[in-house]
Symmetry: C2
Subunit: 107 residues, 2 copies
């Protein structure tokens, strides 16, 4: 992560569950702003655009204009950098095993 | 991640740079609350304890009492779950290559 100010933007962006839901959708596939508005009929277009702006400023969404449409793509590099900041390569492997154990026990 | 309320706690905890600094230290090794207070002489003991409480409620720190001391351990499982939510196994590999390329270009 390049600086703590970047981290502030990233965690502020992730702190809102609506923005996390938008990222969940973009993980599946890029979507236009119009498509996102249709998925969240309880939010008006301005609110969706504001959420996208916060995500874009944090570098979590990259927007690409195609004619009159704006395609929003998930950029997961900042998420990887959160992971790498607190999880070493070795610990990552041990955690995968623990996490699988936990879900086996819960399921 | 078990629920969006858990995620709210986790991102709220990570949103403060002092708490991220505490996690950076705990990544190296577990530390007592007293040790953390010594590392951050500009914060009083109450402030350090409040930050630890927020981290503990988010499941990012696990505390263990030993006599009169409280040892604080990093629990990186929630960090791994953030990663897994938005990065698939395949994308993780591609991102590692991209991230290495980016740091090579910057360095």
């Amino acid at each position: 992560m390049s600086s703590e100010s970047d981290s502030d933007l990233i965690f502020k962006a992730l702190a809102h569950r609506r923005r996390r839901e938008i990222l969940d959708l973009l993980k599946e596939a890029p979507r236009t702003t119009g498509m996102l508005c249709e998925t969240f009929p309880d939010m008006d277009r301005c609110t969706v655009m504001l959420h996208l702006k916060v995500l874009e400023e944090a570098g979590l969404v990259i927007a690409q204009k195609e004619g009159r449409e704006r395609w929003n793509h998930l950029n997961s590099l900042p998420i990887k950098q959160i992971h790498d900041r607190w999880i070493s390569a070795y610990a990552g492997h041990a955690l995968s095993i623990l996490d699988r154990l936990r879900s086996d026990l819960e399921g």
